[in-house]
């Protein structure tokens, strides 16, 4: 079984990677790798690790300590890989000798609590969302919102704005989207925590969801996986093609597929407002960070082996947990990028296995 997996793995790598061919076939059964970082993909990494341990004996010790912590840990070389919801800029990658690649797609979904309006019954665009979060639109029946929602009887309710209180990749993606798509948001800016002009902060996705559920007239934003699993009432968003789309797995995949990764060194791309009639506008990937020069080639190989397995066989698990797998061509591009991760001898650690 193990043997067969690695033949498959080796074949894939041979297609994608270039480099020396003198590596042993497989990481030793029972190899251990450690990672730390983003909390958002942690359930998926845990699932992948569980499936893979049964198959190859590889043990993953992943600590979901937050993206900021993951970046600090990988820079300090205390873990084999770091994970971050917020991609590092190519300059920052270069300064620390890091390589970066996306692992899985996620996104942010605006959720609302509007009595009398079904989930998906309200349409929003970037400008309206920005004005709501700036405190400029304060009632649901404001002209800007009724114009977007012809034929919908919007209630005469004050809008309660809910945002994340904890520093979060979700907030980073959401505010980056507003910055990119709504010029008026520039006064606040984008980061994993910002100075919100109005509103209440809930701790974590569940904190935001609780505030929204308990407050008629509230609007908030949560991770897509969380919204899907908890059946939150979402809003439709207008995308770059001018279409109002619902947050569904195909819409996220469409955003990832439409993106031009070839122009993104270090995979620094936020997938916001991507072209494509189906694309969900607030889409992002969660990223893996590794040192380009691995002190221990076997460890580097094991980490890449883990994600290679995940790209080959991990998609059903991702679907089950409401994550969106990377499109096939992006996977190929990521595999190709692994060639730049080398061992102490300067040879690609993931090099063709035989």
């Amino acid at each position: 079984m193990i043997r067969r997996t690695f033949l498959g793995l080796a074949a894939t790598l041979a297609l994608a990677a270039c480099g020396g061919g003198d590596k042993p076939d497989a990481p030793a059964s029972g190899a251990q790798i450690s990672g730390a970082g983003a909390t958002f993909p942690a359930p998926l990494y845990a699932k992948w690790a569980e499936l893979q341990q049964a198959e190859t004996g590889l043990q993953l010790n992943y600590q979901p300590i937050g993206s900021g912590g993951g970046i600090k840990q990988i820079k300090a070389r205390t873990v084999a890989f770091g994970a971050s919801d917020k991609p590092l800029k190519p300059e920052e990658l270069g300064a620390d000798g890091l390589a970066q690649f996306p692992a899985v797609i996620g996104g942010v979904v605006p959720i609302v609590n509007l009595p009398g309006i079904a989930p998906g019954g309200i349409r929003l665009d970037a400008s309206a969302l920005a004005d709501i979060y700036l405190g400029k639109i304060t009632r649901w029946n404001a002209p800007a919102l009724t114009a977007l929602n012809p034929g919908v009887a919007l209630p005469n309710l004050p809008i309660t704005v809910v945002h994340r209180s904890d520093g979060s990749g979700t907030t980073f993606l959401f505010t980056s989207y507003l910055t990119a798509a709504a010029p008026q948001w520039a006064q606040v800016g984008a980061n994993d925590a910002v100075a919100w002009p109005v509103g209440q902060g809930g701790k974590g996705n569940d904190g935001v969801a609780a505030y929204v559920k308990q407050t008629p007239g509230a609007v908030g934003y949560v991770e897509y996986a969380f919204a899907k699993q908890n059946g939150m009432a979402h809003a439709l968003l207008k995308n770059a093609a001018g279409q109002f789309v619902a947050p569904t797995a195909p819409a996220f995949a469409a955003a990832a597929a439409g993106a031009d990764w070839s122009q993104a060194p270090g995979f620094y791309l936020l997938l916001l407002n991507q072209p494509g009639a189906e694309a969900w506008p607030i889409t992002g990937a969660t990223f893996i960070l590794m040192h380009k020069t691995q002190a221990n080639a076997a460890t580097g190989k094991a980490v890449l082996g883990f994600f290679d397995w995940a790209f080959n066989k991990g998609d059903p698990a991702a679907d089950d947990l409401a994550y969106v797998p990377l499109p096939a061509d992006l996977k190929a591009r990521v595999r190709a990028s692994w060639a730049e991760i080398v061992g102490p001898d300067g040879k690609a650690v993931a090099g063709p296995a035989s």
Binding site: S67, A193, Q200, G202, T215
Partner: protein, 320 residues
């Protein structure tokens, strides 16, 4: 004479062993005490070093500004400090009378059969993890609070009056007052248990004498028991306050987490502990991390002042 010498001579080995053990014991205790001091000093020093970038950049303005903007990298502690002090003071205000009531009931009025049960229950409450209070506060207490307290108050105040401003806020139960109430529930069992233990130390002769002189229960409690324990009671209250000041998770869930100065009792606010809990994991910039460390230092200083005040009060009462 010779007999005495012989006795001393015989006793020496045992005595010597005793001296060695005694020495070792002294050193062990000294080591324990100095380890504690070292740890304390270490915390202060590392907080100062960690917070230095922020303190150096913003200077005294760090303590007086309520601006908290991670994008522009401008940080000020005033909002969080105010939130911390207001919620802790309100929590103490709510919890102290209740804690006294529980303690007095248990010691003076409760039937002996129930005493143990209630006493244990109070102590068990103290053992509930803070996050459980937070979840309960968010999902159970806040909705109830909105329906039965917040909305009636908000609807009954006169429009345009100062009361309207003091009770303005989002009607979902997240805010300063809810956080204070949750904090009060959290520090209540601790204070009640300590006060009960203190009341039990009042010698029964003293109390019985007072009863014998014809005092009512109220008089015994007010004029005999409470004055007898007041030193310890101040300590108990201050320890409760210390817990309220540093409480993190429960407050984070329920306070609404808005930076800046709270303007009403139902407004969202933040405390020092909640701000650190919220932002530390994801803070990446030197200034952001530094500001959070500096906030930790501020909390340390506040706690130190509270304890120093408690010492001062206790000292005064002993001598006065």
């Amino acid at each position: 004479m010779t007999a005495a010498v012989a006795v001393i001579g015989e006793g020496r080995p045992r005595q010597a062993r005793g001296v060695v053990l005694d020495r070792a014991f002294e050193w062990l205790c000294f080591g324990a005490a100095s380890l504690l001091l070292t740890a304390l000093a270490g915390v202060v020093i590392s907080l100062t070093i960690g917070g230095w970038p922020a303190l150096a950049k913003f200077g005294p303005a760090f303590f007086f500004s309520a601006e908290w903007d991670p994008v522009a990298e401008v940080y000020g502690a005033a909002g969080a400090v105010t939130g911390t002090l207001v919620t802790s003071a309100l929590a103490l205000l709510f919890a102290l009378p209740l804690a006294l009531g529980v303690a007095i009931f248990l010691v003076e009025l409760c039937p002996a059969r129930l005493r143990r049960t209630i006493g244990t229950a109070v102590e068990l409450l103290a053992g509930i993890p803070s996050i459980v209070y937070g979840m309960w506060g968010l999902f159970v207490f806040a909705p109830w609070f909105v329906k039965h307290i917040q909305l009636p108050i908000m609807m009954s105040v006169e429009p345009g009056s100062i009361w309207e401003r003091l009770t303005a806020g989002v009607p979902n139960g997240a805010g300063i007052l809810t956080a204070s109430l949750i904090l009060a529930i959290m520090i209540l069992p601790f204070m009640a248990a300590t006060l009960r233990e203190l009341l039990l130390t009042v010698p029964s002769q003293v109390r019985e004498s007072a009863y014998g002189l014809g005092s009512t229960t109220f008089e015994v409690v007010g004029k005999v028991s409470l004055p007898y324990i007041r030193t310890g009671a101040v300590g108990a209250v201050m320890l409760g306050l210390g817990r309220a000041l540093g409480e993190t998770m429960a407050v984070t869930f329920i306070i609404g987490n808005a930076h800046g100065l709270p303007t009403s009792i139902f407004a969202s606010g933040s405390t020092i502990a909640s701000t650190i809990a919220n932002e530390f994991a994801e803070a990446s910039g030197v200034l952001h991390t530094g500001s959070l460390m500096a906030l930790g230092l501020v909390l340390f200083i506040i706690t130190f002042i509270v304890l120093a005040l408690a010492r001062l009060l206790i000292g005064k009462q002993v001598h006065g």
